[in-house]
Symmetry: C2
Subunit: 246 residues, 2 copies
Amino acid sequence: MAIRNIKLTVLYDGSEYHGWQIQPGLRTIQAALTEAIQEFIDVEVRVFGASRTDAGVSALGQVALVQIDSAIPVENLAKVITHRLPPEIAVAEAVEVPEGFDLIGAVKSKLYRYTIFIGQLRPVMQIKHCWHLPQKLDIAAMAQAGAMLVGKKDFKSFASAADKRQTSVRTIFRCDVSRDDDWVYIDVEGDSFLYNMVRNIVGTLVEVGSGRQKPEKISEILEAKDRTAAGPIAPAAGLCLMWIKY
Amino acid sequence: MAIRNIKLTVLYDGSEYHGWQIQPGLRTIQAALTEAIQEFIDVEVRVFGASRTDAGVSALGQVALVQIDSAIPVENLAKVITHRLPPEIAVAEAVEVPEGFDLIGAVKSKLYRYTIFIGQLRPVMQIKHCWHLPQKLDIAAMAQAGAMLVGKKDFKSFASAADKRQTSVRTIFRCDVSRDDDWVYIDVEGDSFLYNMVRNIVGTLVEVGSGRQKPEKISEILEAKDRTAAGPIAPAAGLCLMWIKY
């Protein structure tokens, strides 16, 4: 049996999980996926993820990579794995990729969507997948602020201090704010993201939408290169990794 | 302070709760609501519900009744209680009703909605609020079968054996089956329901939709007055109590 490199598209409701990454004694997506695949693979399975989503964050298009030495045809793998996963996790697609496929380095862009509910009444059925902010938000001002984040810039002000990567320069392709009834969506597409970057952007855009900051403040925040210049972090529940393009 | 009778409209995501009714050591909606109200009421609070929803069943319009001896204006009560509730539960409205208001006897009709997802890919974000049945369903046949349930009839065949009520005659005002993309909805409105009646109806309609039974079989099932004549019970997750009319 030939060992094959398999790229998986993974969906999960992350609200009851301690994030993607395996942590001893905690329920994580990576651990659940590893266990499900291990059930029909004899050698030790290692699953890699393209994004380390945080506790409470969901995904409709996480990408994972695993080596599989099973005779199961690749077109059946998504079903076989999903069948063994908890109900909150599924594999949408499995495709074979060449040896040496660079799961993180080959990423062209990623889209994160953040969902806010601004109605008065708590949305009990969606409460684990949104930020409930029962107040008025100036969507036009938020969109104006979001547009100022687009481009290749140093996003140090939007990175949590825990981020130890060498450079904080990233490219944001778009940062769109839209509204459908009482639901507000912030879509951020970029080449890669710093730790908590989207949630820090959302918290800052909400400061603008609430009228506590002017949209023009974004330039100052970017220039400061200091986390304390930006707004507070938005809760994890509203964040969802929509897709990753290669 | 005058003691007032307050009628509450209650919403909840019931997926992580052991149903409405208080049970020692278990997390229930009635217990959570009682605790929340008890926080600002000195005497012992007792909360009554119009429907005893089962474990895993949700509600967007459960109705509850409670006596409150607080000076809080009734128009503020919904917010005051919701603020003290867990995130999966909310009170949409609180209104004062006369002493002797008959919470169960005065019900004119109730609507339950059952949600089925027939797409292939597991809907991870909604999996706790639907029945995932990745197969074809003949919606027209299900609608035809549903229509045969409308009227004042003996629904003994659709009542779980645990139902010990004197009569199993109930009136169903409508039983509509509709489809929106891969989502199938079964809306059942009636004057009152036997134990597990909606879930047993749904299980039977799915037998019809899958082609395992003809729609005409419904008459035979009703005539049999025997639970074993109907189809298997549908999972709790898909059921939601939409509203109760007085």
